[in-house]
């Protein structure tokens, strides 16, 4: 029996050694192929100060596709880091901001508001457990610690923490040899052909459950915490709604109610939401149902964003 116990210990010890090696290799591969993940971008950026940090869901991501971030930097003279991530709501965005602020600072925050992200736990608590995000997130004790806190206090599934700590999603990554690029970036130069059925299925995807007022209240409160965090760091916050095609906007459920609730929250804290959603209606500005393509981003930048990014920082921290 003693011999059996000894053998079991040796077996487990060797297994742990192999696991360690595999874990290390998976982490190296992740660093080699990392690209879109916001936490990867923070790690790769190294400590430092930024003029702008961009947060939000996928509608904010085209601002960092291809070389567009560099272009914005050249034209505005501002140092910008885009930490938006597909399908992420205010809870995940706040998590990213907290990680960012550990070793970095920013003067301004551009938050891209999307109503869908305020209506479902799928875009908030559940996003933490998404394997595509976890497998591209570098291991870091600080991230693990904060994830621990979120799993205890913010309703994030402990499975996500277990996955992150064990590195399971990285070890089990089917695309381990491919670059971590969101599929939208590969279509950046494409022009969208309008399709009512595509819009319908996209809306069903974004709003998987009936819009619950309780969910909106919950995620507006999370968003308010994000704004508080920015304020505490003396970060100026600019909130925008990105342009979307009219066909898409028309299908958004309860958009007016959402805008009203958001405006009321922002008014209470002294913020303003800049609504550019109806600014670029033509399909030629989009690569799919609702994301700007290169032409669209360039147009949006020329019309509004350049001026907005380059405007001098308001000393009170608000616009």
């Amino acid at each position: 029996m003693k011999r059996l116990g000894k053998s079991a210990i040796v077996f487990v010890a060797i297994g742990l050694l192999i696991f360690g090696g595999a874990y290390y290799a998976a982490e190296l591969l992740m660093y080699r192929n990392g690209h879109s993940n916001p936490l990867f971008k923070i790690t790769k950026a190294g400590p430092g100060a930024f003029d702008w940090i961009i947060l939000g869901a996928s509608h904010a991501m085209p601002l960092d596709f291809a070389d567009f971030n560099d272009q914005m930097r050249r034209e505005t003279g501002m140092k910008i880091i885009n930490l938006a991530s597909p399908g992420t709501g205010p809870l995940y965005n706040r998590f990213v901001l907290e990680i960012f602020l550990r070793d970095h600072s920013a003067k301004n925050l551009l938050y891209v508001v999307d109503s869908f992200a305020f209506y479902s736990h799928i875009w908030n608590e559940e996003r933490f457990g998404d394997t595509k995000l976890l497998r591209a997130t570098p291991f870091d004790v600080g991230i693990a610690g904060l994830l621990w806190q979120y799993s205890w206090h913010e309703g994030v599934e402990r499975r996500a923490l277990a996955d992150y700590l064990s590195g399971f999603s990285k070890l089990n990554n089917r695309d381990r040899f491919q670059k971590d690029i969101w599929e939208g970036e590969l279509q950046f130069d494409r022009v969208y052909r309008p399709s009512a059925s595509a819009v319908k299925s996209r809306i069903s995807y974004l709003f998987p459950s009936p819009e619950a007022p309780a969910a909106l209240t919950r995620y507006l409160a999370e968003f308010s915490k994000l704004l508080d965090l920015a304020q505490k760091q003396n970060i100026r916050v600019v909130l925008v709604k990105m342009p979307t095609p009219a066909q898409f906007r028309a299908q958004l459920p309860n958009e007016a109610d959402f805008s009203f609730a958001m405006s009321r929250l922002l008014a209470g804290q002294g913020f303003v939401l800049e609504d550019f959603s109806a600014d670029l209606d033509e399909p030629r500005f989009y690569f799919d149902t609702d994301h700007l393509n290169r032409t669209g981003v360039t147009e949006f930048f020329t019309r509004h964003l350049r001026q907005l990014l380059a405007s001098p920082r308001n000393r009170e921290g608000r616009i």
Partner: protein
Amino acid sequence: MLFTSLEFFAFLPLVLLLFSTMRVSQRWAVLLVGSYVFYGIWNPFNLVYLGAVTLVVHGCGWALERAKYVIIRKALLAAGLVTVLGSLVAFKFYDFAAGEFERLVAPTIAVQLPRLAVSTPVGYSFYAVSASSYLIDVYVRRLSGASHPGHAALYVAYFPKIFAGPIERATHFLPQLLAALRADPDRIVLGLQLIGWGLFKKVVIADNLAPLVDRNFAIAAFASPIELLIGVYFFAFQIYCDFSGYTDIAIGISLLFGIQLMENFRRPYLSRATSEFWGERWHISLGRWFRDYLYIPSGGSHAGPARQYLNIMIVFVVSGLWHAGLGYGVGWTFLVWGALNGGYQWAGLATHQSWRRLGERLPGVAQSAVLVVFRVLLTFHLIAISWVFFRARSIDDALMILRKIGTNLLDIASVVVGYPFTADHFLGMALIVLLLVVEIFDERRSVSQRLATAPTMLRWGVYYLVIFGLLILGRWQAKEFIYMQF
């Protein structure tokens, strides 16, 4: 709860812990409660069906044991079978049959029949046939109907086998509950090996083949012949690894509790004839169920050649109907699949004497490796053709797939060279080769026995390969077991 879910990896140690701390005579109770939790978590309402079948089994069994008159015994058996198997037939086919009937009479009369709109409860096909075998065994006095009610309930609900078998016999299962339920170290080692290999077959092999199969069958009308051929080959291995993976895990888990379930698969793709495939190697527990409860009672091979051919066809058609289910829908394809396999048995029976004579006259040729390999390949391809009907959405689709492959068969070799194989294709092929290598080794002498006598380094190396294969290549978020859906 799936065997591949995180919940199950917490559930099983908990049940094992409770099992080992309980007195030996009460361990069955832990398994019964665990089984109800396991099944109820999937959908609590399913416990109603399970409870009803258990009541029928125990109630009819108890009454059969006490009934003295043959007519009452027959009535009790009929009542039990009609309730259990009749409900299975109703769940599976009523809505489909009603729709087909409406379609048939539509040109003359417009009929709108009511619908059950109830899908077959998960695992029902398996525990319904187990339950009916219990009743028949009590009726023919192979089994006492006065079994412990808890034991009878556990026989129906036992969690490792409830979703997809093996279709255990009460005559084999219940005596084990009466003996001390205790796992010895050898059984634990074998159980863990089976669980590991079963998981590997399911999440590494079957679930890595599944996306290519699903894609190629979904776009059958637009797919090229080579894509369809890949889909057909991959599906043959997907369904084998999916189903046998489940039963390996079920048998392995049971060994941890000291319970031995019957063998369900024995390297089926090494069969030299379709009769060997169905009779001795594939889904053995179902094959024996049909043999003992349908084929033999119908006269089997003792009622003359014509009757034997008819009995064989009945068994395979009924088997086709049993397989119809949620997984790939309830349609005529399953009937064709069953009939086709019945046809294979007819052909096998008709040529059996010729093979025997060849063996006698030219033993060297009959036993030659070339002929053996040819027969194995022929059997595999016949079975793979039948799987097309099993997997396709309709008979038209199945025929179209076979036609496309058949008419382009001579060109496929040249197309293969230029086909843009992806990493997923190569992974799938490598996993199939690995599986076949293991099975060929296992055929000569069980891999478990080989491992027991192998040097520690080699044994542990194999264990690490399986464990890290599961970790690195497994598709853990993927799919339910295919046979759970029947």
